[in-house]
Each structure stands twice: as structure tokens, then as C-alpha cells.
Symmetry: C2
Subunit: 301 residues, 2 copies
């Protein structure tokens, strides 16, 4: 399998359009080594011909143009794309708005839980994906499906919440169901786990991940109160449905003793100091065996 | 007034993600002088501090990062943007999907006709624009409003149709009402007309445009049957609600005798040969007094 990180940032991307927090400011002033990251998406193939995209980021059109692997192949006709299917892991805008860039009567398989399909169904704007060309497949949790030849996927519930734009008066931030899922991706005898959003890791989830050849995990925030510290918001990671990378209950500590061959942090929020390549936090993460994803990163299994 | 073309292409942009028509193919193979164009949007300011964006393209985040005029100004605090308001001229995806990139609790004034507001209201996904921060102003046709200091705008009906994703069984392609509008933009004693989509020009519209200092007009297609000729679709310009640039009833012929100081074609479809800087069609348009918009083009009045 080949995995291409199309976008390594969380919702809003890095930099965020209206933000001058310390990490965004480093980008805006052109600090050396600080590179932009588009919003959260990966692409996977087993045959170098058919790719499945996990999560359709608002930046998908830009991501397609930026990566030759995603370009149409003129020898295959006037309309073509290596993107054969899309899998969604939640209904957040940074994961679904890019569906609106996959219009133009192009055949696609779309795979998601019923809970996420309901969110799309509630918005007529997504009928821009003509049902005559785009099949919306409702996938049961823990059922295997093959979105492209040679790649098998299983979606499983992880603690999370409904999309921000579907929140009601009260919000359950560690809901376990169809609203937030991870994806187990297997092909060529290898197994990758893709979990861009996760509010907590319980024992069953840890057991499921153990032994993976690759874990791509929620790297949204370094610390739970990072947005407050930066002065750009009141919300904690816990409120947003994301556990933090550092700390006694963070991602690094949680998986410290788990057997995982390669560990990559994805879905990085614009406030996360891991975005700065020379930060102390980046050094700490790397010393702990974690890599920080960037746009265009390729992972071969 | 200063006008910045944020995106000069029609829906899908140039190149279009899945297209290998002759113009897209020229881009994909890296032909010299063929430059990408993002989807349809302009920004206008009278004070170089507050900008109004006309149409929020799906590429808006990329457009903001690409143009320093649109960057946040760190001296104004941790959250800032020169974009103070957005005006919509129709509900097409290439004009509204970018609203989803203007989230993050940022104060904005949103201006549109009631007909377009109804389209947004029908899609819960747009509640991502928190009503506590984003005011949806329903603007009557022909009523003047001031979206940023020193810039006065008047929306007026032009022949067009409802957005593709709202089409029913039958489609009126020359509907005159609140679904498709042009914008008269005045400031500093100058008058610009912005009409990115227009199915036909009747005498009243021509009279309204006459005497303008600048006309930015629907340059979607060079010929009405261009998509058929390229083999990438059956739809004509007429069916899509766009008159063509060339031909006896095209834009160039229509305005040949009209008093307009500067003429710029915007909203170019990926199939339009005007995108190729050395094409015969480009030469013909320029000989006729028309410029072809590109991303980053600045127009000062």
C-alpha cells in the first residue's frame, strides 16, 4: 500500500485565514521552515492506479492540483481521475466540504456510516454530487468493504461528537457511535490505522490498534488548553472531541507501551507548536517515536 | 476603488480536477504560459483596509493565503481579517461553498437577495457561520447598501437560473429575479459593474451598464456549444445560464457599441480557449477591447 498525506492540518488549515496566533504568525511573516498545511485528508492505493481518499477536505481541489498522483491521465480519456472512492470518518466540515469539489458527473463510490450519511442527506447542497454518478454507500460499523482493488477497510466507532454545525443545546463529547469513526486499512499484508479525530482511547481501542504497521492519529492539539493559552478561543480539546498529544492522559503516554511500527500525527490544529519544526514540542514528539505529518508525505507499507 | 481578482475561473476552476480537455491538458502537461485560475471571486476596497468579497469561492482559503492583501494583520490582534463582508450574486457552488471557509467565529456581514438567502437557509451546513458573528442581510433588488466604508453596491436582476443543485424537473434558463444578479459597485466617483453570470443582455441591462468605468462580465464560454465540441459534456451555455463571448449574439457583439471604459472577462470555464494566452480567440478578444482576467489581477479606478 502507498499512503499519501493530502492535508495534514485540522479544520481551518494552517495557517487559518483569520488567525495571528504564534504559529500562524510564524507562517504569515515567512519564518524559515514553517510550511503551510491544508486540511485533513489522506489518499491510499494498492495498485498505483485507483486511489481511495479518506475525508474530502475543503482544500481538495488544491490538493489534487498539488500532487501529480491525483491528476487525470489524458490517455484514459477526456474525463478521468485516479480518485475512485471517498471514505468519510466524520461529518465535520474539514472532512466533507471537499465533496463539493468532486462534482461534474464523475463516477465515485462514497462510503460512510449511516450517521454521517444522514448529515449529508440533510443538506441539499450535496446533491451537487449527482446520484446517477456518485453512490452513497452506508457502511455498518466493523464491516469490511473494498473501496479500491486491494485495499480493505473497516470503520469502527471512536469517542467523539457530532459535527459543530449539527450541535444542539447540549453536546456529548465522548459519544461512541456512528458520528466519529476510525478506519482500519489493510492491503498487501499490512495494516494501517487512520484515526484523525478521537476524544479518548479506551482499552478496546488500544487493543485494536496494537500490532499495526502504521498509526495515523489525531494530533489536533499539543495541550488541552492550547487555544486558551494562545488567546484565540475558550474551547478545550475535550470540548472539541480531541484528546491532546502531550500530558499524562495524552496520545504519547497512552500508546507508549503499545506495539506500533510507525506513528504519525495528523489533523494538526493551527495553534499546535508541533507545526514549528524547531519547537521543543516537536523534539519531544520525535524523541517519543512520533512523526508529524506534512502535505505530500508518502508512507509505503 | 481597488479591485482584486481572487479567482478568474468558473465553477470547477482551471484546471478542473477530472478534466483532460484541450485547455486542461495544456495545463496538466505544463505548457508555457498556461496558468491555473481558481474559482470565481473578486475583492473590493475603497480604503485599503476593509475589503468586500463578491462571491465566496470554494478556493477562498487558498485565495486568501495567495494574496497578502487578504492576510490577517497581526498588529490588530490575534484574530483579524481585511475581509469585512461578502456579497453573493447567485447561489451556485462556485460562489457560496467558500462561505464554509469563513467560519471560526469571525464577524462578517453577508449580503444577498432573499432568493439566495433561502438557498443558504435550506442547508444546515451553512450554520457553520455562527449567526452570533455573521449577519445574513437580505437585500432588495436595486436598493443601495454599503458593505464596506466608501463602497456602495446595488444588486440588480439579470437573466439566469437557479443553482444546479436546486434544479427541478424543468429549468427556466432565463429567469429574471432574485436568483441571479449583477452588482453595481460605486466608490470614489467611479462605477464598476460585476456580472459573472448572465444568460442574455436585454436593452435595459445594456442601458444600465453604459457609461461604466469598468465592466467585469461573464466570460464562461467562448462558444455556446464549446463543451460539446470538446467532448466533455452535452450542456450548452444557454442551458447553463451563460451567454457566450463570441458570435452574433455574444458578449463582444452585444457591447461593441456601448460606452464602457474598461472590459474584463471573468468566470472562465476550463474549456474556454481564452485561457490559452496564445490562442486565436484570445487575440480576437483583445483586439475587440476585452481583457481576460487572471488570479491576482488588480484593477484601480
Amino acid at each position: 500500500m502507498r499512503i499519501l498525506i493530502l492535508g495534514a492540518a485540522a479544520g481551518g488549515g494552517f495557517p487559518q485565514w483569520n488567525c495571528a496566533c504564534s504559529t500562524c504568525a510564524a507562517f504569515w511573516r515567512g519564518q524559515e521552515g514553517v510550511t503551510a498545511r491544508t486540511q485533513s485528508s489522506i489518499a491510499v492505493t494498492a495498485d498505483d492506479e485507483n486511489w481511495v481518499v479518506f475525508n474530502a477536505s475543503p482544500d481538495l481541489r488544491e490538493q489534487i492540483i498539488a500532487h501529480p498522483q491525483m491528476h487525470p491521465r489524458p490517455e484514459r480519456g477526456l474525463r478521468d481521475s485516479p480518485i475512485a472512492s471517498v471514505v468519510l470518518t466524520n461529518g465535520d466540515l474539514d472532512h466533507v466540504a471537499g465533496l463539493l469539489s468532486l462534482r461534474e458527473k464523475h463516477p465515485l463510490g462514497l462510503y460512510m456510516t449511516g450517521g454521517i450519511a444522514d448529515v449529508l442527506d440533510a443538506n441539499p447542497v450535496f446533491t451537487a454530487l449527482d446520484p446517477a454518478f456518485v453512490t452513497r454507500n452506508r457502511i455498518a460499523l466493523d464491516a469490511a468493504f473494498e473501496p479500491v482493488p486491494g485495499v480493505s477497510v473497516r470503520l469502527f466507532a471512536v469517542p467523539g461528537k457530532v459535527p459543530l454545525y449539527m450541535e444542539g443545546e447540549t453536546v456529548e463529547t465522548q459519544l461512541v457511535g456512528e458520528q466519529t469513526v476510525g478506519a482500519e486499512i489493510t492491503g498487501g499484508g499490512k495494516r494501517a490505522m487512520y484515526i484523525p479525530g478521537c476524544a479518548a482511547v479506551l482499552d478496546d481501542l488500544k487493543a485494536r490498534i496494537a500490532g499495526a504497521d502504521l498509526l495515523m492519529f489525531d494530533g489536533t492539539l499539543w495541550t488541552d488548553d492550547e487555544m486558551q493559552r494562545e488567546g484565540v478561543g475558550q474551547k478545550t480539546g475535550a470540548r472539541m472531541g480531541h484528546m491532546s498529544v502531550s500530558g499524562a492522559h495524552g496520545t504519547m503516554a497512552t500508546f507508549a507501551q503499545t506495539d506500533i511500527a510507525r506513528r504519525v500525527l495528523v489533523h494538526l490544529n493551527n495553534t499546535n507548536p508541533l507545526l514549528l519544526p524547531h519547537s521543543a514540542q516537536r523534539a519531544e514528539a520525535e524523541a517519543g517515536g512520533w512523526e508529524v505529518a506534512f502535505d505530500g508525505m508518502e508512507l509505503s507499507l
